[in-house]
């Protein structure tokens, strides 16, 4: 209670906005869904035993297998999953109260090691389809014990004998035109949306903040140059820019899409930070810091930037929402990364096949996520407004 940091003050106020706070909780749940996706849906059995052989867990080893999870993004999430379970017990079940800095550091190192390990890890049995294998073995008279996740499907596993199947217990959202389980793809799509949102926003926030800070701090010619750049970016319709840029990249990965989003959206934080820096430049504590002998870097990043970050954080929240929308638009138009099961890709499949589950499911998911983000953004904005704080 005695803590008086500005961030604590804002957090305290934010928690009073019930709707925004609940939205944040739901977004955290969505993030957890993204991390724990393989626990819900995977075609690799969690446990597997043939006759009296040893117990195995193909599911666990597949987590780090680049033949199963082709994208780096999924591997990163899987590493988070593997580390997430023990840290969950450490933080929440254990009686750890104080922020365990050392534990966090250890986890971070582990994270790095695991990530490196996955780069060199190529198990041979990766492409095995365990459900098929099981059928064959049972037909051969062997005894197979297996435990699968709730949805025993991979997000890439095609089943041509089961295309366009309607909603059923086995397939809660049916299958698409290639027989892939839609629900599974939607769950893994959360990963794409979360990454696209967070990564592109982080990227363009850094770019925009640095350029805006330079413009606002130096003023004059530097400012004029950066301002012209912003104006040029703003004068081109962003969708046109996105389409043009997407057309230039031949083999588009989801990271290209993120770069494209960052290239379009950086102007918002740049303008904001520029304004904040111009305001802060003449503030007495900044002048006092100059008079105390501090150098430019200290003035810009230690004195001014922390005071400009509040509004940036609010736009970042809205930015996550716009990034998710842009990715969906780009994918919907067939210009995204076709190898990932993003919500936009599912929507695109829905458009080309006319299957309503493929349109409704991602549509609703996008709508809900974007709405939650906007609610959180608005709550944050209000929480930072000193006029609304009592």
């Amino acid at each position: 209670m005695s803590s008086a940091r500005y961030s604590d003050l804002v957090w305290h106020q934010f928690k009073k906005y019930t709707l925004a706070y609940r939205s944040l909780q739901m977004l955290v749940a969505l993030l957890l869904l993204a991390v724990f996706a393989p626990l819900l849906a995977s075609d690799k059995p969690l446990l597997w035993r043939v006759s009296n052989g040893p117990w195995e867990s193909p599911w666990f080893w597949s987590l780090f297998d680049r033949n199963v999870y082709e994208g780096t993004l999924d591997i990163v999430f899987n590493v988070m999953l593997v580390l997430g379970v023990p840290s969950f017990f450490l933080f929440f079940v254990g009686a750890v109260r104080e922020p365990p800095v050392r534990t966090l550091r250890v986890l971070l190192v582990l994270f790095g090691i695991l990530l490196l390990f996955t780069l060199f890890h190529h198990p041979s049995h990766a492409k095995i389809s365990y459900p098929d294998l099981e059928k064959i073995m049972i037909a051969e008279g062997q005894e197979v014990t297996s435990v699968y996740p709730l949805l025993p499907f991979g997000f890439q596993s095609v089943d041509l004998s089961n295309v366009r199947s309607p909603i059923s217990w086995a397939h809660p959202l049916g299958t698409d035109n290639a027989g892939r389980d839609v629900c599974t793809r939607m769950i893994y799509g959360t990963r794409i949306s979360m990454t696209v949102g967070l990564f592109s926003v982080a990227l363009y926030m850094v770019i925009g903040t640095i350029l805006g800070a330079l413009a606002g701090y130096y003023g004059g010619r530097v400012d004029a140059l950066i301002l012209r750049l912003i104006e040029v970016m703003l004068s081109i319709p962003s969708l046109f820019l996105i389409l043009a840029m997407a057309a230039f990249v031949e083999k588009r990965s989801i990271f290209h899409v993120m770069l494209i989003i960052a290239a379009v959206l950086w102007t918002t934080p740049a303008r904001l930070v520029r304004g904040e820096f111009m305001r802060l430049r003449s503030m007495e504590f900044v002048v006092a810091a100059v008079a105390s002998g501090f150098g430019k870097r200290h003035i810009m990043f230690r004195e001014m930037l922390p005071n400009a970050l509040g509004p940036v954080l609010v736009t970042a929240t809205f930015g996550v929402a716009s990034s998710i929308l842009i990715e969906s638009t780009v994918s919907f138009l067939g210009l995204g990364d076709i190898t990932v099961p993003s919500w936009g890709q599912i929507l695109n499949t829905g458009r080309s096949t006319g299957m309503w589950t493929l349109i409704l499911a991602p549509g609703i998911a996008i709508f809900i996520t974007v709405s939650l983000l906007n609610l959180v953004g608005e709550g944050l904005r209000d929480a930072m407004d000193p006029k609304l704080r009592q």
Binding site: A4, Y6, V287
Partner: protein, 329 residues
């Protein structure tokens, strides 16, 4: 011993409306162990002078166009910025008028002092903390050890100004520039802070440039006074001389507008007219539109008269001897 010498300093602002000669050829000096008062109406260039010393003029539009500022014999105006940065905050420190906004709201006051101490003295955290507590008790902050971890918004204005002073003094500077340090504070706090400055002058030989509107403050704390008008120094004197024998018509006008200078029952006098805009200062004496002693000669640059020991005045017709008494009466 001379601590700081300003020679013919000119700081101009190059704005869209034109060139503002806000500080236009001023010279004065500050000695060790001396509190120099700088007085003058709003807009006469006091703050610009102070900011010129540390070269913290907002640039653009401002620029030091001429002059030398010698500190320890080194010219601050032509010095490379890296060398100047070592002097800022360590040898010459500055405190500002507005205590409410002079501290960074996102850090505790202790963190802000620690940064300065590690920058100039290279103190580690423990040494810095000890030093901060010591400085806090010096400037009269109660429970100094507890206040170190407070955020600025948890403090009163007077407390913040004390923190500012502690921050300015923590590296033991030899010159303190205080730009209206007590204007925003109530009278008791004001007196305490001024007493602190006097104590530091006496005990540590600190030189102080004290900018103020308040001639009462000048009378109580300063050793010498510089009177500025429209970007120029019009009179320099020790504080006794200035109050006993003011020489420049503008100084006389300032003293007449003091409540206790007026005889009981008589009306408070004010200087007629307004400070001219820096865009079109009159030629010659800039005070001539408002001066009761003005003559045709006053459209020429007024000469410098030495009217007493260390008492200089820039005027064609300065008051001599006790002449001003008649003007006041």
């Amino acid at each position: 011993m001379k601590l700081l010498e300003i020679h013919d300093l000119k700081t101009h602002f190059f704005t869209d409306a034109g060139i503002l000669p806000s500080v236009d050829g001023i010279s004065f000096e500050i000695n060790q162990g001396e509190i120099l008062g700088v007085v003058g109406e709003s807009g006469c260039g006091k703050s610009v002078t102070a900011m010129s010393i540390l070269r913290i003029i907002p640039e653009p539009p401002g620029r030091i166009v001429a002059g030398r500022i010698l500190f320890d014999g080194h010219d601050l105006v032509s010095m490379p910025i890296e060398a100047l940065r070592k002097i800022r905050g360590r040898d010459i420190a500055m405190i500002f008028q507005e205590p409410m906004t002079s501290l960074n709201p996102v850090y505790t006051v202790g963190e802000q002092l620690r940064e300065v101490l590690s920058l100039h003295l290279g103190l580690d955290d423990d040494a810095a903390r000890a030093r901060i507590v010591e400085m806090f008790s010096l400037v009269g902050i109660s429970e100094p050890a507890m206040r170190v971890d407070a955020y600025p918004h948890q403090m009163s204005g007077g407390m913040k100004q004390r923190v500012m002073i502690a921050m300015a003094l923590c590296c033991s500077p030899r010159l303190l520039i205080a730009d209206e340090p007590t204007t925003a504070l109530d009278v008791t706090v004001q007196a305490q802070i001024l007493n602190l400055l006097v104590k530091l002058r006496d005990e540590r030989g600190l030189g102080v440039m004290l900018i103020t509107h308040d001639l009462g403050v000048v009378a109580e704390t300063c050793d010498r006074v510089v009177v500025m008008y429209a970007g120029r120094v019009v009179e320099t004197a020790c504080v006794q001389d200035l109050f006993a024998h003011p020489s420049h018509p503008y100084t006389v006008g300032l003293l007449q507008s003091l409540p206790d200078a007026a005889k009981p029952g008589s009306r408070l006098q004010t200087i007629p007219g307004n400070v001219p805009s820096p865009l079109n200062f009159p030629t010659g004496c800039r005070f001539r539109d408002r001066c009761s002693r003005a003559s045709s000669a006053c459209s020429l640059e007024p000469p410098l008269h030495v009217v007493g020991d260390g008492h200089e005045v820039r005027c064609h017709h300065p008051y001599q001897g006790g002449e001003h008494e008649h003007a006041i009466a």
